[in-house]
């Protein structure tokens, strides 16, 4: 089967009662499939890679825009499971203890505390305004627009991290 490009207007996504994901592209159902973002940080809503259950490449969906609402919801849910990236909305404190940074933040998913062990590797500046932080357990957190955070949060990140 050669890889294909799916058009959002023609493709439909759904889940069966075993929580398996399927798609239909006019030529009967395909699946179970898996979906992954190709650019989870820079283009999260585009270039969705579709693979079979073993991870073998099937095709790509260039954009989620144009999907029917049900498919869109299912796909978003799958992608959110696959790449969980809470948005930090406020930094309460960053404390250094034994070379481990203890962060206390507010996110769009609720309050969270986490630890960062390696400043250089784990705090990734995609631009001067876009930061992705990885904690000691491998969880990731994003600040899409640092300039939109309150000045205390900005300063904490500037000084501590």
């Amino acid at each position: 089967m050669s890889p294909k490009t799916y058009a959002p207007e023609q493709v439909r996504f759904w889940r069966d009662s075993w929580q398996q994901l399927f798609l239909e592209n006019g030529s009967g159902p395909e699946g179970p499939i898996k979906v992954k973002r190709a650019f989870p940080l820079t283009e999260p809503d585009r270039f969705i890679v579709i693979t079979d259950i073993e991870g073998e490449f099937i095709g790509m969906l260039d954009t989620c825009r144009g999907l029917d609402p049900d498919s869109f919801r299912v796909l978003e849910e799958e992608l959110e499971h696959e790449y969980f990236l809470p948005q930090i909305t406020k930094i309460n404190s960053i404390k250094d203890e034994y070379r481990v940074m203890n962060w206390s933040v507010e996110t769009d998913r609720g309050p969270r505390t986490f630890e960062v062990t390696n400043r250089r590797q784990d705090i990734r500046w995609l631009s001067d305004d876009h930061v992705v932080i990885q904690d000691a357990d491998g969880n990731k957190y994003e600040i899409k627009e640092l300039s939109q955070l309150d000045s205390d949060s900005q300063q904490l990140l500037e000084v501590e991290a």
Binding site: E80, H81, E82, Y83, F84, L85, V100, P111, T117
Partner: protein
């Protein structure tokens, strides 16, 4: 304890199962039926909707359910009678636990990666419970070996303290480590040198006392000599003053020497201890810690420990002596003045602390920005060829200037703070002096019991009081730094060495060389099993070739023999003994290794050939080189066998290095030989020479040869074809070709590639 935001769910998940079950019962009171027994309870930190909220995962006598009390009482559940299996899936930043029934799968709960290990463990334990539950008749436990190994590895890899659950940067938890114990352990290194330590401490106190005498003498000089116009005593006083200065200089000079000796001696002991321990650590340790970091521990961290033991500890003592000694003297001179002196003290201490904290941050900012700038350099200069060929010079320049600007900004910040704080500190201290001049001057003039000499002496003492005080205020930082360094050093010393002293160890003497892999599994890290059930027997003297794509487990399989790594499950035996029962030294004496990229040490050619057999005779070395087809090129070198090679010596070609490595193996004369891709990236002529050398080498040895170039395995008695950690085909070259399977396909592909290369 109710579920609330204050109690860390992670810490709670470490409670004993009984307590957890009781808590779950309480929290889920509205959900559980009165007769419903809680069989098992676990905690997660995320709701199914993907918000951070404590969530219960509970196995009861009726069902398996998950509920997030914060989000009303919604319940995800599967009746116990229907459960067929439990699934855990791990994704980026989170994972999902689900329960499958005959006609559906129900997602029970999500968890952040912090809980990944705990959930895996909870699932394993819940599976064990389910298996015993008569109600759960449909449940099938999956006895997946790879899964079990993965769980075990995940647990091992967790960088959380098994005791308190906090993140540890090394293998030692600094929270559970008592600082006092740490410092005591550091001081343990001083023990052999107590006499010297005591002498230096006495000298130190001598220094303190001598400096305290000087202001006193100055006071006397003013009152008794200058005010009395006594020329005769002036000479005596001046000489006395000069003598105390001389004595002070002498004592401090001697002390400097003793302290330096002591410090260097201790650091030497510590360095050796760390290095000695390091030599016997397992390969895993070196895989997980960067070489640079290890080197820094031996040099930098032991150095900062030395600084602490010698400098800081003595400084502390001196400062304490000075503060108390001078404090008492100040009050004895005049208690009113002394109180005045103390007045600005809190301000000074506070300002000094504030300043040092602030500066610490600013300097760290500078350090980080400098590192960022350097990383631009480290990228663009070695990669200059790429930069030029893609015409990206302007971009690199912009990148560098951006970082350079940031660094500039940080330096300016630092200058600003220094400009603000330093003068303030000086001013505050001078203010103290001015107050003393004012009030002291008033006391002198109004004849209130203070002489001019007293005032002068007092002012002298004042300085001797403020300075150590400032030093003491920063002392907690010094201790902090030292304990971090100590922690890093002790982390190495506390890492278990590979050889466990066991009495039952077998010391190998004569070895036949029969190797057997018995259902061997192996994984470097939890996510990827490398070997999955290897079963193979190698006869003494047999040459076995390993082929397969990179990552198929060939090298790993070979590395198990010298026990660079240990199996995750199953066993490898040599002559019927489990490798783990054999004394390591005697095992490795039987094994010769010729690696893909042979490592040569700094030293002569002869020393390198004789690396495994340091007492080999000169003639043996030459014969080994002969057999390895290395002799001829060695004789071309200006210093022949005495030629310096390695890091700072002569640069050898890949083919030359390989033949030296073969000579090394021939000289060692091992029963078992591991060849890792011994012929790669050399011209045909050299390859022929190497091939010849190898043929001589493998004779009468059990040989495991790993190769990408399939043609080099023509002489192998047997070839094992590996794929994804399993042996998929085996037989001689001819047999495998006749089989027309994976191996035949690989051979065809390689000959196509090489003929294409010839054609182009």
């Amino acid at each position: 304890m109710a579920v609330n935001e204050q109690s860390d769910p992670y810490l709670r998940s470490r409670l004993p199962q009984q307590e957890l079950a009781a808590q779950a019962r309480k929290d889920l009171g509205g959900i559980l039926a009165p007769e419903e027994r809680v069989l098992y309870a676990a905690v997660s930190d995320m709701s199914l909707q993907g918000t951070y909220a404590d969530t219960w995962i509970v196995l009861t006598s009726l069902r398996i359910l998950a509920s997030t009390p914060q989000l009303s009482q919604t319940v995800q559940e599967v009746p116990l009678a229907e459960v067929t299996r439990l699934n855990v899936e791990h994704f980026v930043g989170n994972g999902i636990l689900s329960a499958a029934a005959a006609n559906q799968t129900v997602n029970l709960a999500r968890f952040s990666r912090r809980f990944a290990v705990d959930i895996e463990k909870a699932v394993a334990e819940m599976e064990a419970v389910l298996e015993q539950e008569p109600v759960a008749a449909n449940f099938v436990r999956t006895h997946d070996k790879a899964k079990q190994i993965q769980r075990k590895k995940m647990e091992k890899e967790s960088n959380r303290c098994p005791n308190c659950g906090r993140i540890m940067k090394g293998s030692v938890c600094p929270h559970c480590l008592q600082k006092g114990k740490l410092i005591r352990r550091v001081l343990g290194y001083v023990k052999p040198y107590y006499p010297q330590a005591i002498v230096s401490t006495i000298l130190l106190i001598g220094n303190g006392l001598l400096s305290m005498v000087q202001p006193f003498l100055t006071g006397l000089l003013v009152d008794e000599v200058l005010m009395q116009n006594d020329l005769g005593r002036l000479r005596a006083m001046v000489i006395l003053l000069a003598l105390t200065h001389l004595a002070n200089a002498g004592v401090s000079g001697f002390r400097t020497y003793v302290v330096a000796w002591l410090g260097q001696r201790i650091i030497r002991d510590m360095r050796s201890a760390v290095f000695r321990h390091l030599q016997y650590l397992r390969m895993d340790f070196f895989d997980s810690v960067r070489t640079g970091a290890i080197m820094s521990r031996i040099t930098n961290d032991t150095q900062s420990l030395q600084n602490f033991i010698v400098q800081s500890a003595q400084q502390l003592l001196l400062q304490v002596v000075m503060v108390f000694g001078v404090g008492v003297i100040l009050f004895r001179y005049d208690w009113r003045l002394a109180l005045m002196t103390l007045a600005p003290m809190p301000l000074i201490v506070y300002a000094a602390r504030l300043f040092s904290r602030k500066m610490h941050r600013v300097y760290r900012g500078i350090w980080i920005r400098r590192a960022l700038m350097n990383s631009v350099l480290a990228d663009s200069i070695p990669g200059i060829q790429i930069v030029k060929s893609f015409a990206q010079e302007p971009r690199e320049i912009t990148k560098f200037e951006h970082r350079s600007d940031q660094l500039f900004g940080r330096h300016i910040d630092a200058a600003k703070y220094r400009g603000m704080f330093m003068p303030f500190l000086t001013f505050a201290t001078s203010l103290g002096t001015v107050i003393i001049w004012g009030y002291g001057g008033y006391l002198v003039i109004s004849n209130a019991g203070l002489s001019v000499g007293d005032l002068v002496a007092f002012l002298y003492y004042l300085n001797q009081f403020y300075n150590p005080l400032r030093g003491l205020s920063g002392f907690s930082d010094v201790i902090q730094q030292a304990s971090t360094a100590a922690e890093r050093v002790f982390e190495i010393l506390d890492t278990e060495p590979e050889v466990k002293p066991e009495s039952s160890e077998i010391v190998l003497k004569d070895v036949r060389g029969e190797i057997e892999y018995n259902d061997v599994h192996f994984a470097y890290d939890a996510s990827e099993p490398v070997l999955q059930g290897i079963n193979v027997k190698m006869k003494p003297g047999e040459m076995v070739g390993l082929v397969g794509s990179s990552g198929s487990g060939k090298t790993t399989m070979a590395n198990l023999i010298p026990r660079l790594y240990d199996v995750s499950a199953g066993q490898v035996t040599l002559d019927g003994h489990d490798l783990r029962d054999i004394e390591l030294q005697s095992l490795r004496n039987q094994i010769g290794v010729v690696l893909q990229e042979p490592l040569l040490f700094h030293g002569s050619v002869a020393e390198n050939i004789a690396y495994g057999v340091p007492n080999a005779s000169r003639s043996d070395i030459v014969w080994a080189a002969q057999a390895a087809n290395a002799h001829d090129f060695i004789m071309e070198f200006s210093d022949k066998y005495d030629t310096q090679i390695g890091e700072r010596g002569l640069r050898l070609s890949g083919g030359q290095k390989q033949r030296l490595a073969i000579a090394r193996a021939i000289l060692k004369n091992p029963k078992i030989l591991i060849l890792d891709e011994a012929t790669s990236a050399v011209d045909t002529e050299t390859e022929k020479l190497i091939q010849e050398a190898i043929e001589r080498l493998v004779k009468n040895r059990t040989t495991i040869a790993i190769a990408h170039r399939l043609s080099t395995l023509k002489n192998a008695d047997r070839i094992l074809v590996m794929d994804k950690g399993r042996i998929v085909e085996q037989g001689t070259h001819e047999e495998l070709m006749a089989m027309d399977g994976v191996f035949a396909r690989m051979v065809k592909m390689q000959s196509e590639v090489s003929s294409n290369m010839l054609a182009s």
